[in-house]
């Protein structure tokens, strides 16, 4: 495996090492400054005097009235589960039909869905308000779930359809001969084979739900009392971004769980992302 000469390898590793360090500095600053007073942050932002470290501000951030971290996480996780279940539940049968029906009508329907991938979702939020208001779902959790699911449908359906197309058609025919109905075939025979692409869609959709700030901010609004991690962070920090004893502890508490989840699942996550991400 000595493809490149040794100095080149050393150079590569050194370069990557420096870059990794650079990437991690913000995280390092976030961690150490969460334990310091405003005075200490302003005078010594880069180092920490352990004898003066305090968890006072972390405690204050944990008990913040604007943003309860467990509640923010619970709502975001519920959102993530609902969006994924609904999105996958709707897209698997639809993708199966679209992949197996060669009629022009169904080809056109697929293209119609694919066009949705290019809509920048945040900018249509204002008209979405009027639609949700008409349905009586504005400022509600189900309203947010439905909108977020709708934004995931084009991509999910597109990659699912591409995947089902390469699954052997003989599977469907064998199931039909054995008397299986269409839904049985989809869920008991095709769906289990779709696991890799379902994983990819799950990860990508989860990341977009998790990262979304505009949709919960606009659809839930400040009055509903429901907030996700992002809108909660905004409520707790937005007005006080000069008060670093508020910024650092809140951000730290908000990112710890997701970082733990990320590091614990990174192998599956990276592999899952890679599997379906070259989506043509």
């Amino acid at each position: 495996m000595t493809r490149s000469s040794r100095p080149a390898t050393a150079l590569r590793v050194a370069f990557l090492g420096v870059l990794c360090l650079f990437m991690l500095i913000p995280l390092y600053l976030l961690v150490i400054n969460a334990f310091k007073s405003q005075q200490d942050i302003l005078t010594n932002p880069f180092t920490i005097d352990l004898s003066r470290a305090t968890t006072e501000y972390l405690g204050a951030a944990w008990n913040s009235p604007e943003f309860s971290i467990p509640k923010g996480y619970a709502i975001t996780l519920a959102l993530l589960v609902c969006v994924n279940v609904l999105s996958i539940g709707l897209c698997v049968p639809a993708a199966h039909v679209l992949a197996r029906t060669p009629r022009p009508l169904f080809r056109a329907i697929l293209m119609f869905f694919v066009a949705g991938m290019f809509i920048p979702t945040q900018v249509i939020l204002i008209p979405v308000i009027f639609v949700l208001r008409g349905l009586g779902l504005m400022s509600t959790f189900p309203g947010l779930v439905l909108f977020m699911t709708a934004t995931t449908v084009p991509f999910t359906l597109f990659v699912f359809t591409g995947f089902v197309r390469v699954l052997p058609r003989a599977l469907d025919e064998a199931a039909a001969i054995d008397g299986a109905g269409r839904h049985y075939t989809v869920w008991r025979i095709i769906f289990p084979l779709m696991r890799p692409i379902v994983a990819t869609a799950f990860i990508l959709n989860s990341l977009s739900v998790w990262n979304d700030f505009a949709s919960p901010q606009v659809i839930l609004g400040p009055g509903s009392g429901i907030y996700t991690v992002t809108t909660g962070v905004y409520a707790a920090v937005g007005q006080y971004s000069a008060d670093y004893t508020r910024v650092f502890p809140t951000l730290l508490l908000a990112v710890i769980p997701i970082l733990v989840i990320f590091v614990a699942t990174q192998r599956h996550l990276m592999r899952g992302l890679a599997a379906g991400s070259v989506k043509g």
């Binding site: 060669p102 949705g116 290019f118 249509i124 208001r133 990174q266």
Partner: protein, 326 residues
């Protein structure tokens, strides 16, 4: 796995006629029973279609409709038709044209930065091993922090009283106006967005690199090709589909930049970092100018469509060129 999915759209389309010869198709063309069959199939697509149309297509339609009206968003008021007036305002108001320039700059410079960083790092991290796994995780982690959090974090680092400026002052140097000078603020914003974004494109390129035929790389090496020649002649052509996907995904994410602006700069100083999405959601919408906000949204949707179709058309042309050579 990755291999099967990298099939390009034209390839898939080419596979479809072969499927048309299947028994289902023959059955499908048989009159009434065929129609009933199509109806049964439609019912399986319908739920997804209803949701997609109701909450994505209809809102786009509403945006187009409101963009030609004067409307303050109250249910009691009926939108008043005013023709192209909102579009005139969009293109005449210095505020909004500035935000279009800002958005365009972010999309263009950001896309170059993100793709260059992601591709470069993918080439460095493509070999598997403990260290590269660690590297990949470190490069990707900003993306799981969410753009809003990343903005607040960098605000605390680069702000006038932030970490960097405190350190500079301690070292006896004058502070740097990362976020307080209009020109600096835009570049800082582009840097921060790219920092938080490029992990996704990195994973895309890493997956793409696995589709580069190893035997071709080997052959090029035996023929005495240098690293750069191998990259140009073997790696790059194999990466072309990945490149177009990475370009479209990063371009569209950058076009709708909103969260980072909220947390990093608030659109300032003096509107220098106000993107179109920020202008829609944080200026026109709270100002109850639904018509104007909708016109801005339509402009952005058209920009995103042009971007996607341009990249796809260029790729198709490149593919046809490659086929005629091969």
């Amino acid at each position: 796995m990755a291999r099967t999915l990298t099939k390009t759209v034209p390839e898939r389309a080419a596979a479809a006629p072969a499927e048309a010869a299947g028994p289902a198709a023959r059955r499908g063309r048989r009159g009434w029973r065929g129609w009933r069959d199509a109806g049964a199939r439609l019912t399986m697509v319908a739920p997804a279609l209803v949701l997609y149309v109701g909450l994505l297509v209809v809102p786009v339609g509403y945006a187009v409709y409101y963009s030609f009206t004067d409307y303050n968003g109250f249910p009691q008021q009926i939108p008043e038709f005013i023709g192209w007036e909102n579009y005139q305002r969009v293109f005449q108001s210095a505020d909004i044209t500035d935000s279009m320039v800002v958005t365009g700059t972010i999309a263009l410079v950001g896309a170059i930065l993100v793709n260059a960083a992601a591709l470069g790092l993918a080439l460095l991290l493509q070999r598997t091993g403990g260290f590269t796994t660690f590297g990949r995780v470190v490069m990707f982690y900003p993306h799981v922090l969410s753009a809003l959090v990343v903005g607040f974090l960098w605000q605390a680092i680069l702000g006038p009283q932030g970490v960097v400026n405190t350190m500079l002052e301690k070292a006896g140097r004058s502070s740097m106006p990362f976020l307080s000078d209009p020109t600096w603020a835009l570049w800082t914003l582009i840097f921060v967005i790219s920092w938080s974004l490029f992990g996704v494109q990195l994973v895309l390129y890493l997956a793409g690199l696995q589709t580069v035929p190893a035997d071709l790389v080997e052959a090029a090496r035996i023929d005495g090709a240098g690293r750069w020649q191998t990259f140009r002649a073997v790696t790059w052509p194999a990466l072309a589909p990945t490149f177009s996907v990475a370009l479209i995904t990063s371009g569209i994410s950058l076009l709708k930049t909103y969260d980072v602006v909220v947390s990093l700069t608030g659109g300032g100083p003096a509107g220098s970092t106000q993107t179109l999405a920020y202008s829609i959601l944080a200026v026109s919408f709270p100002g109850r100018q639904i018509g104007l906000a909708s016109a801005e949204a339509v402009v952005l949707i058209i920009a995103a469509a042009i971007l996607a179709f341009t990249v796809l058309a260029l790729r198709r042309r490149a593919e046809e060129g490659a086929e005629s050579i091969g």
